[in-house]
């Protein structure tokens, strides 16, 4: 087995572990793999004989299906565990479960967990690559990568783009990974949300500008990422209500007109239509929400490939 490539981390917890060059390498690799999904036989033998465990300790249909599709298109075997179907519900600890998974000799572990830091905990204790598929409000690096891929595709380059991220920044792993990835790739990032959905130190920690109203963030922006609002958070007095939120922070045609010509709209899904954005915006030609889903499979293929079966240092991206 080949060793990991130089400087490539064993685990992918968040995008701050990757250099600009490494992110570019993932995106280039993903571009090559996206073509596989267009073929009649949508499969390459890159990870044949490898076992990828998909450990979803928190409900997630989209991300799990995306990872599963990615692994299968690489010819890997997959084993999906969800919290309800596994022994986690019987009082088994995370560490115990992980050790049992390890005894099945997997080649990589993809984990989604409701607790921030859970993938770090496992990565420190398991010898195989651990890929973070979202951990609480902490990080969602594959979402960050697919957003970068989508933006690069649409705009040619991420460098210099003005990107707004709107919504519940404080509780969003998507916002965090997007901020890290976008700033690393040279974008100018503005975040906006009601004060209860912001948190201290965003400027200094991430190098973004912060707005409590949506208009200044959208002004002249080349792209906007509208975050999903967790409607159940209304109970925790985080915001007064979805109706008012939609009116003040939602994206409609009037607000979209503030953005630069040729701007694009992203959303990690699933969209609360009528809350984060109007149905018209959701269906507009510059809404790239479904492209994001397609690109999600491609970046996850690229990551699995790079982390489970890393190329020799200096080798070019695969064109297999």
């Amino acid at each position: 087995m080949k060793g990991p490539m130089q400087g490539w981390p064993k685990d992918l917890i968040d995008l701050d572990q990757l250099t600009e060059q490494q992110i570019t390498q993932v995106l280039d690799t993903a571009l090559a793999f996206r073509e596989v999904s267009e073929r009649e036989i949508k499969k390459v033998p890159v990870l044949r004989g490898k076992l990828v465990v998909l450990f979803f300790h928190e409900n997630s249909t989209r991300t799990r299906l995306s990872f599963e599709t990615a692994a299968k298109r690489l010819s890997a075997d997959t084993l999906a565990l969800s919290s309800s179907g596994s022994s986690m519900s019987k009082g088994e600890t995370l560490l115990d479960t992980a050790r049992n998974i390890l005894a099945m000799r997997p080649d990589a572990l993809v984990i989604r967990h409701g607790a921030a830091g859970a993938p770090v905990f496992l990565g420190e204790r398991l010898p195989i690559p651990v890929l973070n598929a979202g951990d609480g409000p902490h990080a969602h690096p594959t979402q960050g990568l697919l957003d970068l891929m989508t933006l690069r595709d649409a705009k040619g380059s991420v460098r210099g783009l003005k990107v707004a991220i709107v919504g519940d920044i404080a509780h969003s792993r998507v916002a965090r990974s997007d901020m890290v990835g976008l700033v690393r790739m040279g974008a100018e990032v503005r975040v906006a949300g009601p004060p209860s959905m912001l948190c201290p130190g965003l400027e200094e920690e991430y190098g973004v500008t912060v707005h409590t109203r949506v208009e200044p963030a959208l002004e002249g922006a080349d792209a906007v990422v509208m975050l999903r609002i967790q409607l159940e958070r209304q109970r925790g007095s985080l915001f007064p209500g979805a109706r008012e939120y939609a009116r003040v922070y939602g994206l409609d045609e009037r607000r979209a007109a503030l953005m630069a010509p040729g701007s694009v709209i992203l959303h990690p899904g699933p969209v609360n239509q009528g809350v984060e954005m109007t149905p018209e915006i959701y269906g507009a030609p510059n809404s790239l929400i479904l492209d994001q889903v397609t690109n999600g499979v491609a970046v996850r293929m690229a990551l699995l490939c790079l982390m489970v079966d890393p190329p020799e240092p200096g080798a070019s991206a695969p064109s297999r």
Partner: protein
């Protein structure tokens, strides 16, 4: 026949200045018989006395940790009286004040009496001082029977681990405890502001996506409790102060004449919230590690006398509670075996006088808890002997506590307690390689 112990040549701190350059201490039947400078009027050493050459060592009046959790009764898998008191003695403490937030909580005279009696059967180790609950079952509603608790030997009352949210209850508790000669301790934390929090609220909690605990949760509670101390004119001790503004509030209330005292813990003097990066559960405690500004302010508050005591908040947890996701991990770290070396490091880093160290770790806690004046002839001979130059590396696995939840694993120290004398008996002595 009288039993004698003679400690010769240590530089004795916390007593008369003439002893600081070197003196002899004679102990008879567990009590201080005499302490005098070397050469000049040193007490006659009786025949058959055990003589210990303490040249090169510092002798302090026995260190007192006024905030420890010994997990007894109810959570003996984390710590019990044997392991906790042994860890205390090995760390250089001659007495520890155990918190009553056990399972069940210690809220009756019978429980206090039982624990103190059991501690006397522990071979070796530090003295146990026991605190009792401030309100029944730590419920925050009705006061415990302070007179009976005092008669049973309790030293303090506190609902530590939680704040007494009802201000009227706290006001009565402060008044009533004063009449009974018990020190009331407050755990300052407004739970409506800290609820669900896992670490200090700031840029690191933002980065990690962890729910934050704003410093104001602590500060608003400190304000109310200091105000009640001022209102009643009676003493109140504030536990584990961790924030700059919290310390400043206490400074200002002291200036107003409030009879408030407070403690801070070594980790607030050495670590900040940056330590949580990487989600290490050994950096998770309550109150949480704060910012560099708070850390510096706590050091300043020690040096200017605002802080009265260094107390560890020794909170042992087993791997079952700590070797889990950060969000699920229990709050708290051990402290008994790292406090003295950290305090000595503080002396080196800040130039803090040894006299102040003696006050913070012995004289002030002793006074606050109403214990006999240390080093005085006739007082119990509780002494901590420190080798200030000994270089060593801390390994929790080599310690005496049952638990190993420390953020200081592998720290290299200069100086440690090498001998702990309790009631004239050598309860701990470092084995020399």
């Amino acid at each position: 026949m009288a039993r004698h112990l003679s400690l010769k040549g240590a530089r004795i701190q916390g007593g008369p200045p003439e002893l600081e350059r070197g003196g002899d201490i004679l102990i008879t039947d567990g009590l201080i018989a005499a302490a005098a400078p070397c050469g000049g009027g040193a007490p006659e050493c009786p025949e058959g006395a055990e003589v210990v050459d303490c040249t090169g060592l510092l002798a302090f009046p026995g260190f007192i940790d006024m905030h420890v959790h010994l997990r007894t009764p109810g959570q003996e898998h984390k710590e019990d009286l044997d392991s906790g008191l042994a860890a205390a003695a090995a760390g250089g403490f001659t007495s520890v004040l155990a918190m009553p937030n056990t399972s069940p909580p210690v809220d009756t005279a019978a429980q206090v009496g039982d624990l103190l009696a059991r501690s006397l059967r522990v071979r070796g180790g530090a003295r146990l001082l026991q605190s009792a609950c401030l309100t029944r079952d730590r419920g925050g509603e009705s006061l415990c029977e302070y007179f009976e608790l005092k008669e049973a030997g309790a030293s303090a009352v506190t609902d530590d681990g939680g704040w007494v949210a009802d201000g009227a209850v706290m006001r009565r508790a402060i008044d009533y405890a004063a009449v009974c000669g018990l020190l009331p301790l407050t755990h300052p934390e407004d739970p409506t502001l800290s609820r669900g929090g896992l670490m200090h609220e700031g840029r690191i909690s933002t980065r990690l996506g962890l729910r934050g605990i704003p410093p104001q949760a602590e500060e608003s509670a400190i304000y109310r409790d200091c105000a009640l101390s001022l209102l009643t004119g009676n003493p109140l001790h504030v536990c584990h102060v961790s924030t700059a503004e919290g310390a400043d509030l206490i400074r200002r209330f002291k200036a107003l004449g409030a009879r408030v005292s407070c403690e801070t813990a070594p980790h607030y003097l050495f670590l900040t919230h940056e330590r949580v990066l990487g989600f290490d559960s050994h950096a998770k405690m309550n109150p949480p590690l704060r910012t560099e500004r708070d850390r510096e302010a706590m050091r300043a508050a020690l040096l200017d006398g605002t802080v009265d005591a260094i107390a560890t908040d020794h909170a042992p947890h087993s791997s079952l509670e700590k070797e889990v996701e950060f969000t699920d991990a229990a709050f708290g770290i051990t402290g008994l075996e790292t406090a003295v070396p950290l305090a000595l490091r503080l002396v080196r880093e800040t130039g803090m006088p040894l006299r102040l160290l003696a006050s913070l770790m012995s004289l002030n806690p002793s006074r606050l808890l109403g214990l006999p004046e240390p080093l005085k002839p006739g007082s119990p001979a509780d002494l901590t002997l420190v080798d200030p130059d000994l270089e060593w590396t801390y390994r929790a696995g080599e310690g005496f506590s049952k638990s190993r939840n420390t953020p200081f694993e592998g720290w290299e120290f200069t100086g440690r307690a090498v001998m702990t004398v309790v009631g004239g008996e050598i309860r701990y002595r470092l084995a020399r390689g």
